[in-house]
């Protein structure tokens, strides 16, 4: 049971990173200025890197517990051959990019979560997860700073940028609650010190968000939390994303690329 839950947990974290990395990569070549195109692509690369470590870990665990004779699971099989009901990313990361304001706000909410999350995960009893957390924390520290600065710039910039940030908040806030709603596999793994206890990091996240939104002259919204992503019940967005991402592997099954 623990092994299966650890696999689910690793997949959840990997899916989060991959889906957000994919979304960010949609901006490549279309950013508002060259320097920022590079910055966001870097963040996308970091996230995809995290996803790869986590998928590779999940694959190792799956191969170790699998019945002999079953074909080997790889990072690509996990990323390209699961349908949306098997993806365990939170709903926040699959939301469409919208404008630059929506993109940086989504990044801020998620990076703040990842920052406190990885900080805790470094102490995980699972040494592999702890190592991945330590490696990722450096990058995420940068993502958090970058996205906080942008939320502030745009919130407290011009009237137009402020209006757009209000709209972004309105569209995304409802997805932030899910970040702190533990899935079954998280609840089963946290007493044993493998998974992060989300209740511990939630106040830090809330404080950081409060601070940044205040400096950005943005009001803290309220909304009913949308959920289900961690359990494979997604918004309409994920289907389109996967259709595009997985096309070649699905159209030409069993090929090396």
């Amino acid at each position: 049971m623990k092994a299966q839950h650890t696999i689910d947990y690793a997949l959840h974290l990997a899916d989060d990173a991959l889906v957000l990395g994919h979304r960010n990569s949609e901006w490549t070549g279309h950013g508002p200025i060259l320097e920022q195109d590079i910055a966001l692509s870097n963040i996308a690369l970091d996230l995809i890197g995290q996803a790869r470590y986590l998928y590779q870990y999940a694959a190792r665990l799956m191969n170790a517990t699998a019945a002999s004779g079953k074909p080997e699971v790889t990072e690509d099989i996990l990323a390209y051959l699961r349908d949306s009901w098997d993806f365990r990313n939170c709903l926040l990361v699959e939301q469409t990019n919208g404008d630059w304001g929506r993109t940086v706000l989504r990044q801020f909410f998620f990076s703040a979560y990842q920052y406190y999350f990885y900080r805790e995960l470094q102490q995980s009893r699972d040494t592999e997860l702890a190592a991945i957390a330590e490696k990722s924390l450096k990058e995420v520290t940068y993502h958090l700073r970058w996205s906080s600065e942008w939320v502030i710039r745009l919130g407290d910039g011009t009237e137009e940028s402020h209006t757009r940030m209000v709209a972004a908040l309105d569209g995304l806030w409802m997805y932030t609650g899910e970040l702190f709603l533990p899935a079954d596999y998280e609840r089963s793994l946290s007493p044993g010190g493998i998974a992060v206890d989300l209740a511990v990091i939630q106040p830090f996240w809330e404080e950081r968000v409060r601070e940044v939104l205040q400096e950005a002259t943005l009001a803290l919204p309220s909304a009913v939390a949308q959920k289900g992503g961690k359990q494979g019940r997604h918004t309409e967005q994920l289907g389109f994303l996967l259709a595009e991402m997985q096309f070649l592997q699905r159209a030409y099954p069993g090929c090396e690329w």
Binding site: L18, H22, S25, E26, T28, G29, H30, G31, P32, I33, L34, E35, Q36, D37, I38, S41, N42, A44, L45, I48, G49, A51, R52, Y55, E75, D76, A79, Y80, D99, W100, G101, I152, R153, L154, D156, G157, T158, E160, S161, R164, E244, M245, F247, L248, Q249, Y252, C255, E256, W257
Partner: protein
Amino acid sequence: MTSASEMIFQDKVDQDIRIEPKDWMPEAYRKTLIRQISQHAHSEIVGMLPEANWITRAPSLRRKATLIAKVQDEAGHGLYLYSAAETLGVSREEMIGQLHSGKAKYSSIFNYPTITWADMGAIGWLVDGAAIMNQVPLCRASYGPYARAMVRVCKEESFHQRQGFEILLVLSKGSDAQQRMCQDAIDRWWWPSVMMFGPNDDSSPNTAQSMQWKIKRFTNDELRQKFIDVCAEQVKLLGMTLPDPQLRWNEERQHYDFGPIDWEEFWNVVNGNGPCNRQRLAARVEAHEEGVWVREAAMAHAEKKIQYGKTA
């Protein structure tokens, strides 16, 4: 009669002493360099688009990551080059304006569509390959900032070409569909890559002056021949063919003979009538215009911060 400053300038160039931003230079040299460097920069930026097309469809995580990294490198190259051009007294804003108005050109190769995954391989192998042939000699260009930018660019470029070739190699050993994809991409990208080196030497009136100024180190035809010679050998490793029935090793010349280039197609594409000219430009214009509110907000905030009394 040549002035003393012109003589000193040319003397430096002849001795391979770099010309730096503060040095005197003929106005024609400055103008030619601005055009050459900025068009090179524009090419890198527009060149991001045909490859960025396939990022979201890259068929493995490794390919996804390396493709993003490659396209991001191209953004960086554009940035180094805009930076070099700005030392000559033109602003980024002016250069972007020239690109968007159609006044400035970019390499016509990027006006072709990327319609299969194999195009990513063909672009890396052929287009980056051609670019490298052009860029390595420019590492010794007479203008300091340009030469230094080229050194940076070249360091990163060889990885791109290897990546492209490897994509094709994997396809060439794959399923029937993949092999067909590989040959099809080569068939579409070969001639446009050959055309990347520009018109024949006898149709390039500026070559002589550029070579005297050492902002061009080899002629178009010299580079083109070198490129064809190298690719004709490399394609054998893929078990594929180049779409030129007249391609043949000439023992006497010690070079490959090759077929006629369709100059009509070349000029059509250069003059705006290629398959993707309008889309490429429209994408750049759109990104720029969509970005106005972002850039304005950032400046407004920077000013506010100063007023709030914080240091930037």
